[in-house]
Assembly symmetry: C2
Homo-oligomer: 407 residues x 2
């Protein structure tokens, strides 16, 4: 068994998105080349929720204020969240995903979607359990399994080899399930690659989960931000026992409500029961007053979501245009979400040194691919939910830096 310091040594966060200030303590191991390139700094490690980029949903702040005025009944809810709010969300999420959700028994409100993911894994993974994790996928997935004493069984997703679908290696997935995996966690749309699983891929995941009795945790955080021509398939509405599925969503990304820290998980009642017990000792409940903000979710003003999608799509297309001109750079156009995950041309510095040089010399913060897969040593993730013009300028500076450090 690992000692507690060994256990935490594996949970590094210095390169995690939002923690870049901690990297500045580290020394650059190779010399910086050339001068600083001026321009408005852009932090692609997360979305920009300021007014000149993507501001929170209209009415969100007002709902918060109403929540504060409601007083004690809003500050103290059941650990799984206020009953009336859960009923409202259950109805909306059932309609969105194409399969009913009971607000009473099948839904929990959490502090952020990170909280929901932790509870979902904590409710399914015991010491020694094998858990299938996609490579690349959200950076915390692997760490959650390791903290809980589980064993990560990686499954490759060859997103660059496909123009449709995620490219998950279903043979590897079946081999993992055969080897005794009892939980499978994946994000769809994929974070960091922005690809969406086809109806066929989802049907095959459902069939394999059914055959091998695997519980599937589907992180659907970006499933509302779908670009023209993409279609989305909800696993929970497919041919799979409802007791084997947990779905994670939240209003932090597309809706820019991250400052309120809200997430939801919905699915199998016996898992929701466990997740509430775990929430009781991990954080008690989602922020009481903030919960009120969820009333605006799936109830945005007419046309607001379409406009938000169109604005993201326009930024995506401009950035794809900038990157198309770079020899050796490979990137697939995201079908959903706000992440680009370009594979960079060969550099003659390490990825971490390049990422740091980019921040120091060009004011551009990106997340190294190694956060998402140990093999992604040549890729970086950009969250392009940013001021449009600043994002395009920053992409040009990124291209200049690639040329400086090219092998």
């Amino acid at each position: 068994m690992l000692s507690i310091s060994e256990k935490f040594a594996r949970l590094g966060t210095d390169h995690a998105p939002g923690q870049e200030v901690r990297q500045d303590r580290a020394e650059q191991t190779t010399a910086l080349r050339g001068e600083v390139i001026p321009g408005p700094p852009v932090d692609f490690s997360h979305g920009d929720v300021n007014e000149d980029a993507f501001a929170p949903t209209p009415g969100a702040f007002e709902e918060f204020v109403t929540g504060v005025e409601r007083g004690g009944s809003q500050a103290y809810t059941e650990y799984r969240g206020g009953a009336e709010l859960r009923e409202m969300l259950g109805e909306r999420l059932g309609r969105f995903t194409g399969s009913p959700v009971s607000g009473a028994n099948e839904l929990i409100i959490t502090p952020g979607t990170q909280g929901a993911l932790f509870l979902a894994l904590g409710a399914t993974v015991n010491t020694g359990d094998r858990v299938a994790i996609v490579r690349p996928d959200y950076f915390a997935n692997r760490k959650l399994v390791e903290f809980l004493g589980g064993e990560v069984v990686p499954v490759r997703m060859d997103y660059l080899a496909h123009s449709d679908g995620a490219g998950l290696d279903l043979g590897e997935l079946e081999a993992a399930f055969k080897s005794g995996v009892k939980t499978f966690l994946f994000s769809n749309p994929n974070n960091p690659a922005g690809v969406v699983y086809t109806a066929d891929e989802i049907a095959r995941i459902a069939a394999l989960a059914t055959t091998y009795g695997v519980t599937v945790i589907a992180d659907q955080l970006y499933s509302r931000l779908l670009y023209t021509g993409s279609t989305y398939t909800h696993l929970r509405a497919g041919n799979i026992d409802a007791r084997q599925v947990m779905t994670i969503m939240g209003p932090s990304k597309t809706e820019s409500l991250s400052g309120y820290r809200l997430g939801v998980a919905f699915g199998a009642p016996h898992l929701i029961e466990r997740m509430e017990k775990l929430q009781a000792i991990v954080s008690l409940r989602a922020p009481g007053y903030s919960q009120a903000v969820l009333r605006t979710w799936f109830a945005e003003p007419e046309g607001w979501m379409q406009d938000r999608i169109a604005r993201h799509q326009a930024i995506r297309d401009d950035l794809m245009g900038v990157f198309a001109a770079v020899p050796g750079l490979v990137v697939r156009a995201p079908q959903a979400g706000s992440y680009l995950f370009p594979r960079l041309p060969a550099l003659d510095v390490t990825l971490h040194d390049f990422v740091r040089a980019l921040r120091v010399q060009a004011g551009v913060t990106v997340t190294p691919g190694t956060e998402f897969s140990p093999e992604s040593t040549d890729s970086v993730r950009l969250n392009f939910s940013q001021n449009h013009e600043a994002a395009v300028q920053a992409a040009h500076r990124l291209v200049q830096l690639i040329d400086r450090y090219r092998a």
Copy 2:
């Protein structure tokens, strides 16, 4: 090893404070006696933060609004919390506890004090580790250890046998430390009993921790709400290696800011590092906008805290007066905090049935003592941070119910 369903079967929350609505599914096993007693319902399971009871600190809401206006920089902070805010809090908490706190390295901001407790235990307790837990103490302490795969080593606190100090059995504590305990968690003021450890008790805990190399987690949530004649001793300012102490506080109780879900932990830098890594996968960060509310903490208007203490003390004294007239009821006057923990006279129904009858027949919600110690089958906890008049009326109804169900 426990299976995951066995593990969660031990983490019951149906009788936990705030979860009473879930008990209503359960059947009362004995018949209710007599009629409903009318009166304004009082939920003693937590404090009342409404305007006619104990409203949040003045200026807290305004700081939240300023936080929202600050935008992205407030929504997204480092996982351990905003750097400037940590520096401000480190300075204030160092002054309060009598020993410096580095905001940079020795402090983390969490979603509620529950979040801080989870991180502190998660950073110190590995599978199979022995952890000393006081009986009675905060209801989640035992469950945290069990979820983390640790083993609870109970240490008795005979609070009713003393009029000064907590009455912790220091011989039992030493025996526990000798038996290989490496972490000791206790609340001071004690939740539920409201007693404060004397300077001598704290010095002896520090000496034992030093001798046996035990890390001590001190939950000081109520240490600001001290009544006339009480003195408080901060463990961290005593004769103990700073690397062995973690202190938990937060503005949720005395300051009635629970709806914002904020807590802090401060102490050993190597533990704070681990706690941030764990926070990264458990909830990422304390609510971004809510963090701004901490600016009001330890910076309340002149005289505000004194007034808040005096108002709580007046309620305490009135409730003590009501209970003094009840034959067979034993209660010690709390020296701090807002909990009363009376031992009831012998009843001829179970404690859980009595607690449910009290809620159904008298509109009075209390927490059964069994949440705090398996031996406290004859006690109930009341959080008297309530509207003064309503609390006194509710206490009278509690006395009537005791008489109805007396053995």
